[in-house]
């Protein structure tokens, strides 16, 4: 035990000698769990079990960290390094006999939500959730309008949720932000609240945002010609006829996360000179340098073909590109590799990393950086 680990709360508890349930009760009382102390984080579980693990998707750490039981108690613990400003989603896996169960941490009230369910989340020292992602009573809210866009390309009626800013008026020329996985951005990344606040604070230009509802996103967003035709040939004309939009490349941005980022880049690639900017978050830009073993499964095959093609013959598809990725994501290496490829085409590229994973809250936390880069607000004009 080193000097730094000896000071940890869990080790001080161990040093007290024989422990019983009362000692554990007193230890846990009023304590925030997991226990974050400097750069270390102690995960805890209390209960009867044969084995307990912390499961997570942090690149560079074993997938499952085993917890050890404190002698004489039903308290389990493991200490993990947690660099400053990290945000880590995790669950606990518990084995009782031959039965395995994966649960959120019952001692931790913090949850992160996504389309595939919820998980527990721990915040390292220095992590602060962005206040601009919280509702602000000073902010005038924009409006969400539901639209149906008939699409021959997709062979379905496409649902679109349109965001109109609070000061929306007709004699104007708003830039258009096209958001892939629209409902998820709205539900899990607080996209409407974020837009309301950032527009109100003059950090982002007043804009109209089209939140797309995908069909089968793993097909439509994986370099699909149909999707690109829908967005460029059907959605843009539909919106530009009905709303006061800038209707020029500088006023159009494609945005997406994960497969949605692939869809954004691939749509711009298929329709050059149409879009002025791209906002790509944790893009699933899986590629191979040789061979075909990309490890992503068959849904990634078209993505790999597209990314390989783009990397072999990169070209400018917009004026500016914002790229972000979490350093704990398996996709971090892919995204880092894409940055010089994009930059070398002459596009202006801003790249931001965070100590986070492949999650909606990571994407939410980067929205201010991204949106203020692609559509900067009038902050430089405002002197109250």
């Amino acid at each position: 035990m080193t000097a730094s680990t000896r000071r940890l709360a869990i080790n001080r508890l161990k040093e007290r000698g024989p422990l019983d349930g009362g000692a554990v009760d007193r230890f846990l009382h009023g304590r925030e769990v997991p226990i974050v102390e400097g750069l270390r984080c102690t995960f805890l579980f209390r209960g009867e079990a044969d084995e307990v693990w912390v499961t997570h998707r942090v690149l560079g750490l074993p997938d499952r960290l085993p917890l050890r039981r404190l002698r004489g108690t039903d308290l389990w613990s493991v200490v993990m390094e947690l660099p400053e400003r990290s945000r880590v989603e995790y669950q606990l896996e518990i084995r009782r006999g031959g039965s395995y169960e994966r649960i959120n941490d019952p001692l931790n009230p913090h949850r992160s939500h996504s389309p595939v369910g919820s998980s527990s989340v721990v915040f390292a020292t220095g992590y602060e959730g962005p206040e601009w992602a919280e509702p602000d009573p000073e902010t005038r809210p924009g409006e969400l309008v539901e639209l149906t866009v008939p699409s021959r390309a997709l062979k379905r009626d496409a649902r679109v949720t349109l965001y109109l800013p609070a000061r929306f008026r007709r004699p104007a020329a708003y830039p258009l932000l096209v958001v892939h996985d629209g409902p998820d951005y709205l539900q899990y990344a607080a996209a409407k609240t974020v837009l309301d606040n950032l527009l109100h604070r003059n950090e982002v230009a007043e804009l109209v945002a089209a939140f797309l509802h995908p069909g089968d996103r793993l097909v439509e967003y994986a370099d699909s010609t149909s999707h690109a035709r829908f967005v460029t040939g059907e959605l843009l004309p539909f919106l530009e006829r009905r709303f006061p939009l800038a209707a020029a490349p500088a006023g159009r941005c494609l945005m997406g996360a994960s497969f949605g980022a692939v869809a954004a880049l691939s749509t711009a690639y298929r329709h050059p000179d149409t879009y002025g900017s791209l906002l790509l978050q944790s893009g699933s830009f899986v590629f191979t340098d040789i061979g075909s073993d990309h490890g992503g499964g068959s849904v990634f095959d078209p993505v790999v073909r597209f990314t390989n093609r783009y990397r072999a013959r990169p070209r400018a598809v917009a004026d500016r590109v914002f790229v972000s990725c979490g350093v704990y994501e398996p996709l971090i290496v892919r995204n880092r590799s894409m940055v010089p490829v994009l930059s070398d085409t002459g596009m202006r590229v801003k790249y931001v990393e965070s100590r986070d994973g492949h999650s909606w809250e990571n994407w939410r936390d980067r929205l201010r950086d991204g949106l203020s880069y692609v559509f900067p607000g009038p902050r430089k004009y405002v002197y109250e």
Binding site: R167, K380, Y381
Partner: protein
């Protein structure tokens, strides 16, 4: 505009903690810089002693756009041209500033450094000058093509603004969006009565040359109303400029010379405000120091 020799212009720093006092007579206020919050002026009215008349220039502008769709479209296109000019100029300035900064950091011989740096700074001044000329030309072209003053909706509002100003002793121009302020002050030909009181963006709009500054960077924006001469006003400088970096401050002062760059701190008056010297020091200029203050 009325001949400025008849005017008394009082310039203040940002009013986060208000320092404005009641004014004699009726004050006509301009809060158009607050845009859609223009009408939220109860606190301002109280601070000025009550009975103020808000000229509602922002609301008048929106009314003009609704009443005259042809002018609205023309204005939109004109705005797109100006925005593009500003954006392209900002790209040029960004590169020119980067070049000047790189030269400043280089370990070249002092004489060479001085000469090369002078060229780099001259290039920046040339960019500023050309940009302001282009903006002025674009505005002149727009005015010549569309003659806003002669259009019914504008003329109607101009007449009403003139009436309101005729009964006022002081024009009060609050801060906010400096671009909106400049636009509506021009569109409705606001002619100040005897006194003008302005702060933040309102004060910037009164200068000959409006300079935008944020995140440590400065950009010329547009010719202002010219009621405050030989001065570039920098309200909120502490939050927007590297005030602890004399090298960059000095470069800013030299760039806009011979006009004086004046840092308008919260609530400060122009007379008590510090100007940036060419070497980056912040001092109250000798010609504005109070007599009892040691030189």
């Amino acid at each position: 505009m009325r001949d400025e020799r008849e005017l008394t212009v009082t310039v203040l720093g940002p009013q986060r903690r208000p320092t404005i006092r009641p004014v004699a007579g009726t004050a006509a206020t301009v809060t158009a810089g607050w845009r859609e919050r223009e009408a939220d002026d109860a606190e301002l009215d109280g601070l000025l002693g009550g009975g103020t008349v808000n000229l509602r220039l922002h609301a008048r502008w929106l009314d003009v756009l609704d009443a005259d769709p042809e002018l609205a479209t023309a204005e939109l296109n004109h705005r797109a041209v100006l925005d593009e000019l500003q954006e392209l100029y900002a790209v040029q300035v960004g590169h020119a500033e980067q070049a000047a900064a790189e030269i400043r950091r280089s370990s070249t011989r002092p004489r060479t450094l001085t000469a090369v740096l002078a060229d780099a700074e001259a290039a920046l001044r040339l960019l500023d000058e050309r940009h302001l000329e282009r903006v002025a030309a674009a505005r002149a072209d727009f005015d010549a093509a569309w003659r806003p003053a002669e259009r019914d909706a504008v003329a109607r509002h101009r007449a009403r603004v003139t009436e309101l100003l005729a009964g006022a002793g002081t024009l009060v121009v609050a801060g906010g969006h400096v671009g909106v302020l400049l636009h509506v002050l021009r569109l409705f030909a606001v002619s100040p009565p005897a006194d003008v009181l302005a702060w933040s963006a309102g004060a910037m709009a009164l200068t000959e040359r409006v300079v935008l500054f944020t995140d440590g960077r400065a950009e010329a924006y547009a010719p202002g109303l010219g009621l405050v001469r030989d001065t570039v006003l920098l309200p909120h400088a502490r939050r927007r400029l590297p005030v602890d970096d004399p090298v960059r401050l000095g470069a800013l002062a030299r760039r806009f010379a011979p006009a004086r760059c004046v840092v308008l701190d919260d609530g400060a008056t122009l007379a008590a405000s510090r100007a940036i010297e060419p070497d980056g020091r912040l001092v109250v200029p000798a010609d504005r120091r109070a007599p009892e203050e040691p030189a």
